[in-house]
Symmetry: C2
Subunit: 333 residues, 2 copies
DNA sequence: CTGTTAGCGCCTTCAC
DNA sequence: GTGAAGGCGCTAACAG
């Protein structure tokens, strides 16, 4: 295992100072065509590759970003990650992807580890941390964008959906179709988006002169299996229900499966509306009515915002708000 | 923006040498309980956080791994990434996730950038590079595991499916059901797995005394839209076909959609078999018959193998081979 | 246009 | 048990 080729090696071989090599490598400052050419040749010949670590230590920049998501195998988050990485790549940044697996301890741990790695900024998606923990964790981080979450605090960016409106739209669509007994599968209890969508649901119900019965609002894990379980409970305890608003599409699809199991026909006996419009949603049977937001776009906007903050345009835009769009399909015509 | 708290600061404040602080931070060497306690107190009070960058420069380890995939929004790869990150996290590593978007230039670029960041090792999934480019790219990388790809070369690890067998099994299932005119939607032309699965298809056909007609084997992008296009072409040019073996489930689902468009009933007029068994596959209608392999498991095995290589157990296992399992559902009973 | 001097923050090696 | 000296590979700031 021969020693790594270093800048000093190149400098010696080319008969110049290290600084000159550095200038050529970074294309900074004016270098005469002749020496530049000679240095490039030596770099090739020796197979010199700059050390990002050393450079980072000297410049205090790493060219890396952290992306924290609950679960990358959830289509929402893999799309966010894809959109984020696309922009990051264009701008010359690399991305650390971290899954919290919905555990707050782990979320805290990955945030710490990101700061230790010296990321230039971090995107925190759907944080499940309480406000205090979140503030504390944030204090480690140089530059932050929150996705799907709000927090009263200076200097951080937000990329969010207008979740309250989204919950309202979904609910109103069902109300307009004549439903009265509408329940809400609200997702994780500590999900900010879940809370907001549920507010929207309540607001729409109230505006229609209705009040959700006890038990009509039920939290559940944001995944198919967890939702099936919750749907079974909900529908067997409340036979009066004719429609469900769901936290997201995975939950909605779980509801669809549970209905199938219970021989309840969708949409005739139970109508279902989801949130997000993941690729799966138009492929299931019945196809899912849902409130669409491009997760890919949210990911790329988040990186754009983060890079602006890193660049120091503190005074500029701090917030990107997406409006969801109702996509009507068979599950709730 | 106050200066970062450094080890020297802690040392000064605690009235010890930097080395002693280092020993406490890294829990190395014997330190008296008293000084250790005092140093910890100072660390807390000053809010000292070690710099991973500086440590990496000194130790020549970064505690980071690179993971290169074609497209993280493809469920196969998001599952691999999830499995990989799970193990990496347990072992104290962070993961750089890079998408190549099926572009070889970009694949080369991200490999370079990973080496520049000083990753301790890299996992390359479904590389689309030609052998020469691949070898060249690899030479930059300290430690490598290839997923879904083989290469004759010392010192690199492999995590692969027995793709040839998998293609054979899929095809044989259709043959056993009485199909004779079976086509293969073979995925990207430069996909190693696609080539192997196609070999298996040909082998099974041959074993049954059949020979694929010209045009029965068709390459296509590994996504739903691309597959729909290819399926339309294939089925309109070859009305004799009664069954399709597909490169993966996304391709199979595209085929399903194309059949629906063309009013061909699945499985009565056309039977379809996929590969992978992504979560979507049991949810589409008709549910997809497919050859299952746990992508999550492949991801975690890949990291385990990589860490062994990094650890230096060169002589140990170099290869993990997964056998797929036929899951029979409605699309090809 | 090019070189010199000093670190960046930490760890390794040896000495005490 | 603890400390001092030196270096990891690079760049910033100034000098010429």
């Amino acid at each position: 295992m021969s020693r790594r080729v270093t800048m000093a090696d190149v400098a010696r071989e080319a008969g110049v100072s290290q600084m000159t090599v550095s200038r050529v490598v970074n294309e900074k400052g004016d270098i005469s065509e002749a020496t530049s050419l000679r240095i490039r040749e030596v770099i090739q010949r020796l197979g010199y590759r700059p050390s990002g670590v050393a450079r980072s230590l000297a410049t205090k920049r790493t060219g890396t970003l952290g992306l924290v998501v609950p679960d990358n195998s959830n289509p929402c988050f893999s799309a966010i990650a894809r959109g984020a990485e696309h922009v990051a790549y264009q701008e010359g940044y690399s991305i650390f992807l971290c899954n919290t697996e919905e555990e707050t301890d782990r979320e805290l741990a990955v945030i710490r580890s990101l700061e230790e790695k010296g990321v230039d900024g971090t995107i925190l998606c759907s944080s499940r941390l309480g406000e205090d923990d979140l503030r504390r964790a944030i204090s480690y981080i140089p530059c932050l964008v929150l996705v799907n979450r709000r927090l009263e605090q200076e200097g951080i960016g937000f990329v969010v959906i207008d979740d309250e409106r989204s919950g309202r739209i979904a609910t109103r669509h069902l109300l307009d179709a004549g439903h009265r007994a509408i329940a809400m599968l609200a997702g994780p209890i500590n999900s900010y988006a879940g809370q907001q969508r549920t507010r929207g649901y309540r607001a729409a119900m109230q505006a229609a002169g209705l009040k959700p019965e006890d038990g009509w609002v039920l939290n559940c894990p944001p995944r198919i299996e967890g939702s099936m379980q919750a749907t079974r409970e909900l529908l067997s305890a409340h036979s009066e229900l004719t429609a469900l608003v769901c936290y997201n599409d995975l939950v909605a699809i779980g509801a669809l499966k549970a209905c199938a199991e219970m021989s309840l026909s969708v949409p005739d006996e139970i109508a279902v509306v989801g949130h997000d419009d993941i690729p799966l949603s138009e492929l299931v049977t019945p196809a899912l009515t849902t409130c669409r937001v491009s997760q890919y776009e949210m990911g790329s906007q988040a990186v754009q915002l983060l890079l602006k903050h890193i660049g120091g345009c503190e005074t500029e835009c701090h917030e990107v708000i997406f409006q969801s769009e109702l996509i009507v399909r068979a599950s709730a015509p």
